[in-house]
């Protein structure tokens, strides 16, 4: 009887010992992250998605940022933490519906660890909550609407390397008032979050400086801008600032000189139409037009970057102003992924979602092309430098945007 009990105890002890011996040396990874973890097998790639407008009339904006991000991957040698990088994504169409659809598809793909996008602010308004609620983090290279980083409305997973339009609108207003010495201006937007906010910021700042500004609006998809321009002409503006997108901007610019009273009015656009496609859409009226856009002249290492870009995609000029912001966004994401990922000895990766978000938010003095990036508590990570450019005949003939600014704010 006693012997039997002893035998059983011995057997149990032996099994226990065996179990202990069989366990791996390191403790098994256990996900303690608030938002959960994404596991990547030893031979699986790290999947990063883009949400960009890669087709339609604003396609150059999306292609430009996609190329910038791809060069960042090339510069990493296509590898992060010993895994290859898979970069694909969804077209967002530069409208709210497209942004929502793209975000929903990205949120449904459980292999995606981070998102670069969106391009147009209208896409991010419905898109950011969906991506953020899925526990993912997104860094936008070109959303500029103040709404997106408004303390009351900003989504916890949302970051951007593009400037906030509070800066762009103010710089544009300052240029028009102090340099061109105009006192009466008009501004036209299309009702979208980017264009409306920028037009309003511009008008507010211009009024603060002492001028008067009229705000008028068109609809996305409008073709005949002459009635609206005739309305604007009634207020006799010296300059019209229209921060819209390529299609509507092209119609406005092309029809401007046909409207009595606007034959000599100076035109100014913003970063959304700072693309050769706009030159094509407008035609000869564009000569002499001003643009507010990121200041490339203060970018660090920008020339080598552009050389890579032009060579890789066989282009004569850059497509839109946000390729460098996209390059920086991708590198910021890489740096944060390196901090927030746990690697098993067999090569399996565990990306901790909340830790990733915290790592991006903690970005401080990150040396990018667009400047030293530091994220504020609301996701604005840009080092915003805006300058003013002017298009000349040579730019139109070659279909290239000007490279050197004619004016910049004193730092």
């Amino acid at each position: 009887m006693k012997g039997k009990v002893l035998f059983v105890l011995l057997a149990i002890a032996a099994i226990a010992l065996l179990a202990v011996a069989c366990q791996p040396a390191a403790p098994k990874f256990e996900c303690k992250d608030k938002l959960g973890c994404i596991d990547i097998g030893p031979n699986d790639p790290i999947h990063i998605a883009y949400a960009m407008v890669v087709s339609g009339s604003d396609a150059t904006l999306g292609q430009d940022t996609k190329y910038g991000a791809e060069i960042a991957i090339d510069d990493k040698g296509g590898k992060l933490l010993g895994h290859s990088i898979k970069f694909d994504g969804q077209d967002t169409g530069c409208n709210a519906e497209g942004g929502q659809a793209a975000a929903t598809k990205i949120a449904a793909d459980k292999t995606i660890v981070g998102v670069i996008g969106t391009n147009c602010s209208s896409e991010a308004v419905p898109g950011a909550p969906i991506i953020s609620n899925a526990g993912l983090s997104m860094i936008s290279p070109s959303n500029t609407a103040p709404y997106l980083t408004d303390p009351a409305k900003r989504q916890p997973g949302y970051f951007r390397t593009a400037h906030n339009d509070k800066v762009q609108g103010a710089v544009a207003a300052q240029f028009v008032y102090t340099q061109l010495k105009f006192t009466k201006v008009a501004t036209i937007h299309d009702g979208g979050p980017y264009t409306e906010a920028l037009a309003n910021v511009f008008a507010e700042n211009f009024k603060k400086l002492g001028g008067s500004a009229v705000i008028e609006a068109v609809n996305v998809g409008d073709k005949d801008m002459k009635p609206v321009l005739t309305r604007v002409a009634a207020s006799k503006p010296e300059l019209i600032y229209f921060p819209v997108f390529v299609a509507e901007g092209g119609f406005i610019c092309a029809q401007m000189r046909d409207v009595p009273g606007l034959e000599k009015t100076v035109m100014m656009g913003a970063d959304g139409i700072f693309t050769p496609d706009f030159l094509k859409a407008c035609g000869k009226n564009v000569v002499g037009m001003y643009f507010s856009s990121p200041d490339f002249s203060v970018f660090k290492g920008y020339d080598e970057f552009v050389a890579k870009y032009l060579k890789k995609y066989n282009l004569k000029g850059t497509l839109a102003p946000f390729h460098a912001h996209s390059y920086d966004a991708m590198n910021m994401l890489f740096a944060a992924l390196e901090k927030a990922t746990v690697k098993d000895p067999d090569g399996t990766l565990h990306v901790q979602k909340q830790a990733l978000r915290d790592a991006i938010a903690a970005t401080k003095d990150f040396k990018g092309i667009t400047g030293n990036l530091t994220c504020d508590p609301y996701g604005d990570c840009a080092d915003p430098r805006i300058a003013v450019y002017q298009v000349n005949q040579d730019n139109l003939t070659k279909l290239e945007m000007p490279k050197t600014p004619i004016w910049k704010q004193a730092q």
Binding site: S55, G56, S57, A59, H189, G191, I215, E216, A217, V218, N219, G221, D222, K223, D224, K226, P227, V228, T230, R231, A233, A234, V246, A247, G250, F251, A254, Q255, D258, V259, P260, G261, D277, K280, A281, G283, K284
Partner: protein, 353 residues
């Protein structure tokens, strides 16, 4: 007395009347305020009208395609906006080539005719293929089936042309000769605008003459009236339907070139909004009625152009230019409240409605 009145008028009628009356009152207030505090000059008012007529002529030409097909088949051809897009999108390449070689400026008339001919041919081919492939097999299917097919065909054509010519904007060449400005009193009008309005009016007049005074036109009217009886009288229904699509397609192609010359940009989805507007114009004028489509188109164009300044500006609405579509569709509602079959709408017999 009161009881009899209560029996005759129901609540819906009263609500509709109140809506209609208040919209009218609002529009009237705006107009009166405008007269009291003039903000725009006479010249500016005229340019609203001229711009409106230019756009309205294009709407009217597209609307004819909707109305012709509706008159014959009692179906709304939602792919018509793609018929409108296909011609000028293709003819762009010809126009661009002729402009780059300088041929267009030297032989303006020949050049323009060639552009029109190509665009109208392509649009006609697309319209006829559409009828042959997508609609004819469904002629006796329930009503909803061809409607859904039309929407599907519309998407197919849009993306087909996107694949064919690319997703980017193409820009029609500027024709300097048509930019000359003529001043008639306070009216400032460009040759191009005169050309668009006159060309549209000529084509519409031609169509009206064709429908009213030719054998084929008579046959078309007979088919529109009653397909079975027309067939019994020896009319080849299939032939008449094809002719209808040919006419609609050719007019849409011409409208497309006028659009391209006026607004320059062409793109694969350029037909969508003009298509919707033209459909509205057709309903506004009374769908199925040729003159109605013209009146509806012009009316819609002018209202869109002048409405924000005339009705909304004096009421202090911020950026009223954005609300021009709201004005256009409110107008549609208003017309339908007071005249349910459109401005010139025929009284639809029960089988047609």
């Amino acid at each position: 007395m009161l009881r009899r009145w209560r029996e005759r008028v129901n609540l819906t009628d009263i609500v509709m009347f109140i809506i209609g009356a208040s919209i009218l009152a609002l529009a009237l207030t705006g107009t009166v305020l405008n007269i009291l505090h003039p903000k725009f000059t006479e010249q500016q008012w005229w340019s609203f009208v001229v711009d409106g007529l230019t756009l309205g002529s294009i709407y009217a030409l597209i609307a004819l395609g909707y109305t012709l097909v509706y008159g014959i088949l009692r179906m709304i051809n939602f792919a018509h906006s793609e018929v409108f897009m296909s011609g000028p999108f293709t003819a762009y390449f010809l126009a661009d080539w002729m402009a780059s070689t300088g041929f267009l400026e030297e032989n303006l008339l020949v050049g323009l005719l060639a552009i029109f001919a190509l665009a109208m041919t392509i649009s006609t081919i697309v319209a006829v293929l559409l009828e042959r492939i997508a609609y004819r097999p469904l002629r006796f299917a329930p009503r909803l089936v061809p409607l859904i097919t039309a929407i599907g065909a519309s998407f197919f054509l849009q993306y087909f042309f996107k694949g064919l010519y690319g997703p980017n904007i193409k820009v029609y060449p500027e024709i300097t000769a048509l930019r000359t400005v003529v001043e008639i009193g306070a009216i400032r009008i460009r040759y191009l605008q005169i050309f668009v309005i006159v060309a549209a009016l000529l084509m519409m007049a031609g169509l009206q003459l064709f429908v009213m005074y030719t054998r084929t036109g008579k046959a078309m009217r007979a088919v529109a009236e009653d397909k079975e009886t027309a067939a019994l009288m020896g009319i080849d229904i299939d032939r008449i339907i094809v002719i209808t699509f040919v006419l609609g397609g050719a007019l849409a192609g011409a409208a497309g070139v006028l659009f391209g010359l006026t607004f320059k940009q062409v793109k694969f989805d350029m037909g969508f909004i003009p298509g919707i507007k033209a459909f509205t114009a057709a309903v506004l004028g009374g769908i199925g009625n040729v003159v109605g489509a013209m009146v509806g188109g012009m009316f819609l164009g002018v209202t869109e152009s002048i409405g924000p300044s005339l009705f909304l500006d004096p009421l202090g609405v911020p950026s009223p230019g954005q609300l021009k579509d709201a004005i256009a569709f409110t107008l549609l509602v208003l017309v339908l409240i007071f005249r349910p079959s459109g401005i010139l709408g025929e009284r639809l017999a029960e089988k047609k409605a």
